[in-house]
Amino acid sequence: MSSVDAAAEAPRRPFTGRRVRFGDLVLQLVAGAAALATTVLVGLIIWKVIDGARLSLSKYGLGFVTRIAWNPVPGHELYGAASFLFGTAVTSFSALLLATPLAIGIALFLTELAPRPLQAPVTALVETLAAIPSVVIGLWGILVLGPALRDHVEPTLHSVLGFIPLFGPKGAGPSVFTAIVVLTIMILPIVASISRELFLGVPHELKEGALALGTTRWEMVRGVMFPYARGGIAAALILGFGRAIGEAIAVTQVIGGGVFIHWNLFGTGDTLGAKIAASYQGASTNLQASSLIYLGLILLVFSLIVNLAAQWVVRRSARKHGIVRGGRA
């Protein structure tokens, strides 16, 4: 410290060190406590879920995960997660399959094709789709989409593609197919907006260089933008997938609650989250309640894996491109 500083400080603050440090200490402690509380919260969530599943865990162990059963009859109680895992996997992967080309198409439209004045409003509208609560989409699914699919789309698909077991005879309305469409609508905006941000981040020079060499716009997208944004799009897909597997409310409203594994998309099914939402309130025995929480534990583990995978992919691609991504879109 220069003598000027010392002179300026000395008359103002004879007790500089202690007073300043106390206030700092308090703020640091309180803020640090908040950070600690957040960490404790996450630990508590994991612990509580494991604790709730304990009865079922001790009774069934890991065999629960591969068993196709959900028999709540007292005296014959037997529970297993396999049909719900199957349902979760089928609905989420199918939704991802349907949503990816749509989302990338939208992102490309917004960054490359849309006229300037349209870009902002259309972006806002796509993000509005993300803001619609899942219960409203589920309401629309039960009352509008389900009957429309059942009465018009499913019979057509069955008559044209009926030889594939996926497109069996039409159902009663609630079906795996309706759930897939609903999930597609829900993950579309997430993947689209992340992809859009990624495409916006592709350096101009690369794009214009390719165009100057005579490529068409599509060739430029395929040859420059996709490879550049590859890691980020992978992360976006993983995040969208994570959203789909965790969705419980809209899915339980439209999927019909079936317990069996079958290939007919137009029949009923169930997923981990949807089963919990439908049955938890009325679980009649401790074993049933614990088995439902076991389903939640499986869901939590998968969500964590998906989340961490997305983080890892983002970090890897950020390192590659030398940028540090703060938050998501």
């Binding site: 009859v73 309305g173 317990v259 009923t268 439908a278 309130q281």
Partner: protein, 351 residues
Amino acid sequence: MPKLGSLIRISAVVAAAALLAVAVVGTAGASRASHNGTTITGAGSSFVSPLVAQWVAGIGAAYGYELQYSPIGSGGGIAAITGRTVDFGASDAPLTSDQFNACNGCLQIPWALGATAIMFNEPSVPNLLHMDGPTLASIFMGQIKTWNDPAIKKLNPKVSLPSTAITVAHRSDNSGTTYNLTDYLSHVSPAWQAQFGTAVAVNWPVGVGAKGSSGVAGVVASTQGAIGYADVAFALKNHLKYFAMKNASGFFTTPGSRGILAAASSDQKPDANNALSIVNPPKKYPVAYPISTFTYVIVPQQTAKAADLRKFLFWAVTKGQAGQYTAALRFVPIPKSVLVVAEKTIAKIHS
């Protein structure tokens, strides 16, 4: 720009405040109309929920109690009262001994009498179509898949049946109505008894699952060719047709007061836990409807709200059985013998 910004900010705040004010005034106005009395909360059977819904006004007028009831299904009701998250639970399925143990000192009191209607949605077919137990079991087992199946034709020779596919609608939650239906099916179909049994939820082989009696009614109402089951009040409220079921005497009976009362006379003695079983009454009750059931309220024997609960339950089993509450919903006042037992049990509630 600053002027526009602050103008927008001010108007946003004013709009939000206005909306909030309307909401507060509106809801405060609604609550001003009620008494400032005790709240009695309950949860469980959706079977009895239409009747309990009618009781809210009556009990409020009589004692100023505010009755809150959530129809989450009998299984949920038993779980809720076991966890003491509500003041009373309601279940159509009598508690098993395990459930009594878990509930830790609970009393089971029959407080209403009604019937499960097998409702359907098929416009080309008349109401009160004939149906019998074994055929119904086959339908729920997925062996009968269309309306013009020979088994249904045999019961209804004069009716022209369409080839529409049958969609079974069943409960996805733990339901006393399911218990009632499966109890009946187990009595009339050895195949059902062997494969599925009697329970609040079974391993349904076919069909669409829905939550609550209103959920099942919803599926039936919106799906042509659907067959489902719920308390007859739901069929009436939603203008759904239902079957006339063949009873043990060979007659096709309907879930009306005569049929239910006749069924109730087949078991007039509640067992040690006050449970009664009146499904598939024997031949000597020719007009009995075979899928009738009592329904129970489950209360802890010792509770801080003992005095209020006793008042409420006495009212429910006496004044609450009056025609003004029960008639339109096809509930039937509980018979005298059961009433006596109920009142004795209610008196046991203490604080």
